[in-house]
Symmetry: C3
Subunit: 211 residues, 3 copies
């Protein structure tokens, strides 16, 4: 199981870096910028989490995260036309969604294990880990961040991480199966949002109130 989760993590890292480079390519970016943005997107969220937890940053102990993000960024930059092919791009968006789900739940698990600020800090740091890298990328690129859009991207992470914390409290003996379930739950909502292009319902936004 450890190995499986490790490989899924690497696939998520690839997807984070690739979707970052593809999102920025139309604005014109050089090879160096592509690598920096790809790496920041892939490891930024976990880095902020580890700084707040005051533990060594996760990629210092396992540089594969950097190498994989670097390689994926170079590949996405070089083989741009390959990755923008409809099937490949779709695959990347779904893997990205799975990466978000898994990194969020893994972070909750890590923070829970450290007994840091229970019960709410695990949820907050789960969200930070899942979407922090993308936020830093958008800020550095001058793009609108997803916090200001109605895309269903961060909300499922929040729901899944909250559910996982609740399950850790009431069913501590089912830690592993809860983690898998919550991860699939986040991914399920995200995949549905991608497939049917769902967005946050209007009554949960301020648009209607002000318009």
């Amino acid at each position: 199981m450890e190995t499986l989760s490790y490989w899924i993590g690497m696939a998520g890292t690839v997807a984070f870096a690739v979707t970052a480079v593809l999102a920025l390519a139309p604005r014109g970016i050089d090879l160096f910028g592509a690598c920096v943005m790809g790496i920041i997107t892939a490891i930024g969220g976990g880095t902020v989490r580890d700084l707040i937890l005051d533990v060594p940053v996760f990629w210092a102990a396992d540089l594969n995260y950097i190498w994989v993000a670097f390689g994926a960024s170079v590949a996405a930059f070089s083989a741009h036309s390959l990755f923008t092919r409809k099937e490949i791009y779709s695959l990347m968006v779904y893997i990205d969604g799975f990466g978000v789900a898994m990194f969020g739940i893994q972070a909750v698990d890590k923070v829970w294990g450290l007994e840091f600020g229970l019960p709410i800090a695990p949820i907050i740091l789960g969200i930070v880990t899942a979407i922090g890298g993308g936020l830093i990328r958008d800020v550095l690129a001058g793009r609108q961040t997803l916090l200001m859009s109605r895309e269903l991207y961060a909300t499922p992470v929040m729901l899944g991480c909250t559910l996982y914390v609740v399950l850790l409290y009431i069913l501590p003996e089912y830690r592993f199966i809860s983690a898998v379930g919550c991860c699939l739950c986040i991914f399920g909502i995200r995949a549905a949002a991608i497939h049917w292009q769902l967005s946050v319902p209007e009554w949960l936004t301020t648009k209607t109130k002000t318009a």
Copy 2:
């Protein structure tokens, strides 16, 4: 006194979260985004300060800061029309001003107690604590940050924190009364700026030089 300062801190936290949500609401934001932005605005500055000091983040030891910011964000989002009523909104702006003053001075006190980078680091980290959360919020929301505006928001914090450090040097035995005085001094300037809509005088800006 401890208790009083604690409750004022909580009131400041409420005001930070509420003013953040109200500022972003016209742009359209969903419930999740409102909570994230409210919490970041309320605890962002202190978090950056604690990372630089290399001490545990303040909210890990007292999660009430998170809960209060979360509750205030949900309230501001739900009861939007209540909080935009003139009297309530004015009250929030003044409490926000008081929160800025108090968080700044409290941070100077904390950094001074740790004897970290005296004498200038307490002033810098006081400013970071007071306005850091708002800066992160504006960057994530794609708004112009207050550093580029002429609003009298951060300058009084700088003056008050500097004055407090000077007083700590020359009158160390009056630490508490100095803190209260400097806090009121910051709030006084800020309140005057809100009431009479004062801004930084033109000769202290570069506008005239370039126009």
Copy 3:
């Protein structure tokens, strides 16, 4: 040599703060904003590096970095017309280029000495140290960051830091001379880019692919 490198570091700090203030002045900035932006630009990159390394921030042990950045910001703000004179401004741009080169190589050296995440973390943190302050400044000012431009600013830093790590591996006994050489190498490319207004070649950007 220590003393020389220290003074060059201070000159770099001055140049970072001055170029920051001059870059933001046309947008209108007050004295407080100028100081904050100047200081952040000068020490921001090294601060992020030290947070990730989990070592005390470098300026806490030597506050001269803050004082010098503060003084340079005030000077650039007050004597704006002096610093925008062609010769002075050119000099500042070249010193800025030298500062970027030296701070990058010094950071590689520091991270290497701590044996942190070899071999790739030194390169990443060298880049972070050299350009991080400027990135934070641009984000806070709402300007396009250099990651999205084709200016030859960060790419030479990456090349020089990579070269230095390679030389540390194959010629560990020539550590000092390698550092000087790589620093000059970065500065040489940067100076050529300034003088002949070179930019990243088109085949290394995505512009042609999408246009």
